[in-house]
């Protein structure tokens, strides 16, 4: 095992791979610093350019970018009171008042070091979870893996939008859209409408770009520039902030564990992680009267949690193919592109890839935090870029990414179709991730259902593991619907 761990580390430090990792970290930081863009847009844009790379290299780019977005999103949160991404919502409460008091540098120092530690703790827990989860995952057959995928879709569908029922229907819609094209089990073409482009099924990349990137750009372009407030000075005190993070090391560890726990539960977004972390920080502090007025602990808690969440959400993604977050859906899509199947294989045959992911998260967080400490002033300028200047460039990038799939205009038709669909879902407050999750997991679900039915007939429904997971699915469903009605 040790040699695999070291080989994974050595692989990252090869010159070309390491240069790509640095590039991905830099892009991730820039995306985090610009309010409204975020890691999902960046990872989606990156996806079509990964086809020619090896899985290791592609995952270095994707995961490094996604891991550090929550490090740089602190900058607009502290200086302007506008979160760079949802992961910095709670940081504003104390970070912005600190900046008003001339302590922005201290807030940055505390946030960056907490982010680094959060990321490292997350990576450590992910590594430790591999030998723990391996016997459980290996005991699963196709029926249990089918039910796990179903549980994941149910949880993401019911927890991510405003309407659990509509979210479930959107998940079902995604699964049905995955049926389009050649049926590998029978050799028949399904619902391809005689269009050659659809014979191989709906392509994932235009769908991802349409559902995730287009609505975000539309929102930015239509609603205009989010940053209007007066910028506070960074000031000095970065070292003091780092010392604060070290002084409150136990708070950092506790909140990192909260971030990991929230990450493991599919459908619980980064917003949930930072608010739970902030709540815990306030509740567990002896003197809590300064929270909301510029208490550095209010920055340390959420910042540790949001960087640890990525590793947490990778645990169910790798072990069961159940993505813990929207970013993990994109990683799952990358797995599909490279023919990697999440589940037992990722803990046995492809454990080197899993360990590479562990190292990427740890190293990207260290480099990201260090770059933020050194380049705060430059990143502040990036976060003030005018959205109207950025919008056409991002739109061109999205079209460029989509057309890379087959090089035909049909990629762009698919992009606009899914873009309009994504925008409608966003307007209505219905969950968008289940649509893509259904599209990604649809073929896997079908394969597992086919194998289960062929091997066991209807008896697979009576397997103890299946019954337990079915009960969990039902409980999640009932809980979400009841919660939705109570609200």
């Amino acid at each position: 095992m040790m040699d695999v761990i070291l080989a994974a580390l050595k692989n990252i430090f090869m010159p070309a791979q390491f240069a790509l990792l640095l590039l991905a970290v830099l892009v991730g930081l820039i995306l985090g610093a610009i309010p409204g863009l975020g890691g999902i847009v960046g990872m989606t844009l990156l996806l079509p350019f990964l086809f020619d790379l090896t899985p290791h290299t592609a995952l270095i780019l994707l995961v490094a970018l996604g891991s550090v977005v929550n490090t740089a999103d602190t900058i607009p949160a502290v200086l302007f009171g506008v979160p760079g991404t949802a992961g910095a919502q709670a940081t504003i409460l104390d970070g912005f008042p600190m900046a008003k008091k001339g302590q922005a540098g201290r807030a940055f120092g505390a946030a960056y070091l907490s982010s680094i530690f959060g990321g490292i703790i997350g990576a450590f827990v992910l590594a430790v979870s591999i030998p723990i989860l391996r016997p459980l995952v290996l005991s699963f057959g196709s029926p249990e893996l089918f039910m796990m995928a179903l549980l994941g879709i149910t949880m993401i569908s019911t927890l991510t939008g405003r309407f659990p029922l509509a979210g479930l229907a959107v998940g079902a819609l995604g699964i049905l859209l995955s049926v389009i094209g050649l049926d590998p089990q029978t050799g028949y073409y399904r619902w391809s409408l005689g269009i050659p482009y659809l014979l191989d099924g709906l392509p994932l990349v235009p769908a991802l770009l349409g559902v995730f990137a287009i609505p975000e750009i539309a929102s930015l372009a239509i609603r205009g520039v989010p940053i209007t407030g007066e910028m506070q000075n960074i000031g000095t005190g970065i070292w003091q902030g780092m010392k604060d993070a070290l002084d409150h090391w136990f708070l950092v560890v506790r909140n990192a564990l909260i971030g990991i726990w929230v990450g493991i539960v599919p459908g619980m977004g980064v917003s949930a992680a930072v608010w739970i972390a902030y709540g815990h920080t306030v509740q567990s502090s002896k003197n809590s009267e300064n929270f909301g007025k510029g208490d550095v602990r209010g920055v340390i808690g959420p910042e540790s949690a949001n960087n640890a969440k990525m590793a947490g959400s990778l645990i169910p993604t790798l072990a069961f193919g159940v993505p813990g977050s929207a970013m993990c859906i994109i990683i799952l899509a990358a797995f599909t592109i490279f023919g990697l199947v999440p589940g037992p294989d990722m803990l046995t045959k492809h454990v080197d890839i899993t360990l590479t992911l562990v190292w990427i998260i740890a190293i990207a967080n260290i480099i990201g935090g260090a770059l933020c400490l050194g380049l705060s002033s430059q990143l502040v300028r990036v976060s003030r870029v005018r959205i109207h200047l950025l919008a056409p460039l991002v739109i061109v990038a999205v079209f460029m990414a989509a057309i890379r799939v087959t090089g035909s205009l049909w990629d762009l038709y698919a992009l606009l179709f899914f873009g309009a669909l994504g925008w409608i879902l966003k307007k209505l407050g219905w969950a968008r991730p289940p649509l893509i999750l259904g599209l990604v997991l649809g073929p896997i679900l079908k394969k597992y259902l086919f194998i289960s039915t062929m091997a066991y007939g209807a008896a697979w429904l009576a397997r103890p593991g299946v019954i337990v997971i079915a009960l969990m699915t039902l409980a999640s469903l009932v809980f979400s619907i009841r919660k939705g009605r109570r609200q």
Partner: protein, 162 residues
Amino acid sequence: MPKLKLDIVFALLCIAFFCFTLVSSLSWDLPSLLFVWFAALPGLICMGVFFARQMKQMRRGDNEVPLQTGQPPDRDAAALGWSREEVMFFGRLIAFLAAIWLLGFEIGALLFAFLYLRFKARESWLLTIVTTAILAGLISGLLGKLLQVSWPEGALGVWLGL
């Protein structure tokens, strides 16, 4: 007469799609049919219940508080029509697509970026030209020449035999 809302119309479209998938899969082999029904039937039930609730709410004329969330509705979400800005945004995307079809990706993308920056974003001539030039360098130079990425040609070039 209560105003028809976008969520109701969209829910109806989803219901129609679920019905289509259920009916069209009837002639398929059993495993394929089972898979479609396993997804479409719960989808139809969920969307049916959601649709019925929204209709009930609309008949009551209770447009201020959605049944499930209690949150005040987003004005954009409540309206069936799209705002002028939304139509303009998606109109620009369609125009961009038309430009790519007619002129090819490289020229279409540069034209789109130039026109957007100068006339929508109202950036200065200098910034518009510099940004478009950088984009040209990226698309044609870095990606096109260096990384050998081939972009689709325009129909106009084909018609003119270029």
